[in-house]
Symmetry: C2
Subunit: 478 residues, 2 copies
C-alpha cells in the first residue's frame, strides 16, 4: 500500500459501489467523488493497481482500467517512477470576496446525499457521536479559567493541567502507574511511535519486534527510523511473547510493540502468562515494551484488563489515544514513560515544533475532570456493544458456519472464513457496495498465511447506514 | 544556546530579578520558579553557563555558581557530557481522587502574585489579549456546523474550510496569490521550515542562504536537515539580496530564507530593488525564496507592504502564522506553496501523523470568515502601536542619544547602543529585573560584529507590567 495514501488511517474511505453498478465504473465514481470531496488531495499517490485490487478484492485489470480512464479524463496523472497520482486541476484564482462565506456546512465536504455508505473498515470510531455540546461546554469553562500563559509557547510535554487529570484517569480506568511528569502528550499514536523510534534508534537499538498481524503504517514508520521489525510467532492463543529473546528472529530485539488489551486486528487479549513472559523478557534483557492501548476502554464481556504498564512502569511505554474513544480529529494522544526515557523523549519531541493546541489540551483536561469523558466512554461502550451484539446475532442467523473470533471488545470483530475464500468474499463485498478488509491485509511480511477472515469495523457507520451495512455483510458471507 | 531550551521560543521566560536581590540569588529563584511552575520540565537541558551569562548580561561565574547551588539543592543535575539539566524530583504517586479537581486555574502554572514581570524579550504577543470570548463564539458556531467527517482523520493539507477562507484572507490582507489547494497547514513556522528543509534536501539542495541576523532555532533546524546555511551580506540598508548567486558564500544556495516585511530582528523592510533582486535570482537560478511573514499584519506608519510571494507565486514559499497575531498556543500556521512543491510537501507532512486539531482549524476558519480575526488584528495593531509610541517617546525623553532603528512595525524595536556597551547594558538590565536580549544574540556565526543594540519586545508585558518594564528599560539605557 502506497505510503502517503496509507498514512492517514488504514481506512481508505472510498465510497462503496452502488447496487447494480459495474465494478470499474463504481471504482471510477468512488475515486472521482473522493477527489472532488477533497478526501484525496491533489498529488496524493494512489496505491498500485495490484495493491488496490487486493484491497478491494477485485481483478487487477479492473483497477488498472479505472486508473487509465481517470488519467484520460484528467483526474489522475500517471508517470513512470512516480506512480499514479491525483492530478492538480487548474482552477481560476478565486476573487477575494467582501464577506467570505463560512464553508463549514457547505457542499465541498458534505457526503453526497441519498447514497448509502457501507463502510465496515476498522479504525475510525462513530464520528456522529462526537459529544459536541459537552466538548463546547468544557471548552468554555477551560478557556475562561485558563491563565494567560496557556496561550503562549508551551511545555513540550503538554499542559500540566491535562497531564495531571490524565494521570488520575489512567490510574483509575486503566491501572496505569502514571505521574504527570512522566506523561508526554502527542498528536496521535503514530506520533508517539515516531518519537519512540527515534529514541530507540539513538540508543543503539536495531530491532523492534512486532506482532504477526498489525498496521503497515506502524512498520513503515519504524523502518524509516532505521529499525528492523521481526515478527513474533503467533499461535491460536495469540502472540508468543515467550519466544522473545530466544535464538531466532526476535533474539536481538531491543523493544517489542504489543497490543495487549486487544490485539489488532486479530482480536485476542494477551494471556496472563504471556503478559508475564513479556515483562520477564524486558527485565532480563533490558528491553522495552511498547504498549499500544488503542481501545482498552471498550470491553463488553467484563471489566477491561488493566494495562500491562502497571506490571512494570520502568519497562513499559504506555501509549493511549483519544482517537478511538472520542475522535481522531482532536489529534490528542499520550505516552506514559519509564523515568529513564522522559528526558530523551522530551528532547526528541523538542527538536521540532510539535506541541498540541493549548485550547484543545485544556478543553480535554476539563472534559476529563468534569466526568464528561467517563460518561462519553460509557455511552459509546453501550453503543458499540449493541452493534457487536447485532453483528453476532445477524451472523449467527444468516451465516451459521461463520465463527467470530476474538474477545468482545473494541470497535472491530474478526469473522473467520473458510480457507481460500477471503478474496472472493471481499470481491463480493465490493459488489455489494461494502468496504471491508481481509485479515491478510494486516499480515506481517514474514508471517505465513494460515487463515482467511474479515476484519469488520462496526464503529464507523452512522445509525442510518448500519443495518444496510450489516445486511450487505451477511449477504457476502458463505 | 542549548537546543532543547531554545526550541520553544527565543524567550526563556525566566522571571526577572526582584529589586535589591543579588544576581545569583535572583537567578536561582527564577530557575526554581520556572522548574516549580513547569516551564522548565524535568530533563530540560539548560544553556551553558557561558551562554546564559551572555544572554543575561551577567558574569559567567554568577551563572555557574547559581547552577552549582541548585545542583546541590537537587533542582538540577550536572553530568559530564550531557550538561546541566533540570532534575527529576521523585514525588509520591498521587492517589486517584474520586472527583478530580480541575487544575486550570490552580496555582501550578499561575505566576507568583505580587511580583512584577519585566519581560521585554521578543517573540511572544500579548497573551492577555487573546480574544477568548470571540474564539469560543467561533468554536460554538464551527463545531455546531461541522460535518461529522470533520472529526475523523483529516486531509494532510488541513481542513478545506480553513484553507478556503485563509486563501481569501491572505489575498486580501497580504497580497498573497493563494489558492486553497496550494495551502498546507502546519503547527508553526518551525514545522513549515522543517518540511521545507526535508523537501529541499530531497531535491538535492545543499545550501539555504539565510539573513545575517535571525533565530538560531531556524538555523539548527536547517542544519539537522543536512543543509548548509551561508549568510547573505548585510549593510545599513538591510539584506543584500543582489549578492545572491554571486561567486562566494551564497553562490550555490538553492533557496533563501527571508523576512521581507520586517527583518527579524534588525527591523528593516526589504527594499523594492532588493525584493526584485531576490525574485530575479530565484527565476534565473531556479531557486526558491522562503518568505517568513511572521508579523506582516502589524505595520504602524503605512499600509503593510504586500507579501513578496505575490511577485512570483511559483518561486516563493509563503509562511505565515497565527502565533504572533493571535497566540502561539493555537499551533496554527500555514504555507502557500508553488504548484511544483505541493505534492512533495504533502508527502513530507504525510510521513508522520502531523495534522492540526480539527476543532481548532474549524474554529479559526469561522473566526476568519466572521471578521473576528480582522477585528482582533486591528485592535492589536492599535495596542502595539501605542506601546511602540510610548517606547519611542520614553526613550527620546530619557535617553536622547539612543536611536531606534527599523520601521514602525511588528512587536519589537531595535535600540542602537554605543559601541561596546551591549553586554554592560544587558547586565544592568538583569539588575533591574528586566529580561531583554542584545542584537548580537541573533548574529549569524559568520556575520562580523558591527553594532551594539537591544532587541526590545514590547508585545509581551501585561498592561500592569508595561510601565514598570519601560521604566526599567530607560534606566539601563546610556
Amino acid at each position: 500500500m502506497a505510503n502517503d495514501w496509507a498514512t492517514f488511517g488504514a481506512d481508505l474511505h472510498l465510497e462503496p459501489l452502488r447496487q447494480g453498478q459495474g465494478l470499474r465504473e463504481g471504482l471510477m465514481d468512488a475515486l472521482r467523488e473522493a477527489v472532488r470531496g477533497g478526501r484525496l488531495p491533489a498529488g496524493t499517490r494512489l496505491p498500485s493497481s495490484r495493491a488496490l485490487a487486493l484491497d478491494l478484492g477485485v481483478a487487477r485489470n479492473t483497477v488498472a482500467d479505472a486508473y487509465a480512464e481517470l488519467v484520460a479524463e484528467g483526474w489522475l496523472t500517471a508517470r513512470q517512477g512516480s506512480g499514479t497520482r491525483v492530478a492538480r486541476r487548474s482552477e481560476p484564482r478565486p476573487a477575494p470576496r467582501a464577506a467570505p462565506r463560512h464553508p463549514a456546512g457547505g457542499s465541498v465536504t458534505a457526503p453526497p446525499a441519498g447514497r448509502p455508505t457501507y463502510n465496515l473498515r476498522p479504525g475510525t470510531p462513530d464520528l456522529a457521536s462526537f459529544p459536541r455540546a459537552a466538548w463546547l461546554k468544557a471548552a468554555r469553562k477551560a478557556l475562561t479559567a485558563a491563565p494567560d500563559e496557556a496561550f503562549g509557547y508551551g511545555d513540550p510535554r503538554g499542559r500540566i493541567e491535562l497531564r495531571t487529570v490524565l494521570a488520575e484517569y489512567l490510574a483509575r480506568a486503566r491501572g496505569v502507574y502514571a505521574r504527570p511528569e512522566r506523561i508526554v502528550l502527542c498528536s496521535g499514536f503514530v506520533h508517539g511511535l515516531l518519537l519512540m523510534g527515534q529514541v530507540l534508534r539513538a540508543r543503539g537499538v536495531r530491532e523492534v519486534a512486532v506482532e504477526s498481524y498489525g498496521l503497515d503504517v506502524h512498520w513503515e514508520l519504524l523502518a524509516r527510523a532505521g529499525l528492523r521489525m521481526p515478527a513474533l510467532p503467533f499461535d491460536e492463543r495469540g502472540t508468543r511473547t515467550e519466544e522473545l529473546g530466544a535464538p531466532g528472529e526476535t533474539g536481538s530485539a531491543g523493544a517489542v510493540l504489543l497490543t495487549p488489551a486487544h490485539q489488532f486486528p486479530t482480536g485476542g487479549a494477551l494471556r496472563p502468562d504471556r503478559r508475564a513472559a513479556a515483562v520477564d523478557w524486558a527485565r532480563s534483557a533490558g528491553g522495552l515494551l511498547l504498549e499500544d492501548d488503542y481501545d482498552g476502554e471498550f470491553r463488553y464481556d467484563r471489566q477491561p484488563v488493566g494495562a500491562l504498564q502497571g506490571l512494570d512502569p520502568e519497562r513499559v511505554v504506555y501509549l493511549g489515544t483519544a482517537s478511538k474513544s472520542l475522535a481522531p480529529g482532536l489529534r490528542i494522544a499520550w505516552m506514559v514513560l519509564p523515568e529513564q526515557l522522559v528526558d530523551e523523549v522530551v528532547a526528541a519531541k523538542g527538536t521540532v515544533d510539535w506541541v498540541s493546541s493549548a485550547p484543545d489540551q485544556l478543553t480535554f483536561a476539563e472534559f476529563l475532570a468534569s466526568g464528561a469523558y467517563d460518561r462519553h466512554v460509557r455511552a459509546m461502550r453501550l453503543r458499540y456493544r449493541r452493534r457487536r451484539d447485532q453483528l453476532v446475532a445477524a451472523v449467527a442467523a444468516r451465516s451459521p458456519g461463520t465463527r467470530i473470533s476474538g474477545i468482545a471488545a473494541g470497535l472491530h470483530a474478526v469473522l473467520e472464513l473458510p480457507e481460500g475464500t477471503e478474496e472472493s468474499v471481499l470481491r463480493a463485498a465490493a459488489f455489494q457496495g461494502l468496504a471491508v478488509l481481509g485479515i491478510n491485509r494486516f499480515r506481517h511480511p514474514t508471517t505465513p498465511r494460515t487463515r482467511d477472515a474479515l476484519v469488520v469495523g462496526y464503529g464507523t457507520p452512522s445509525d442510518s447506514a448500519w443495518s444496510g451495512a450489516l445486511d450487505a455483510l451477511c449477504r457476502v458471507l458463505p
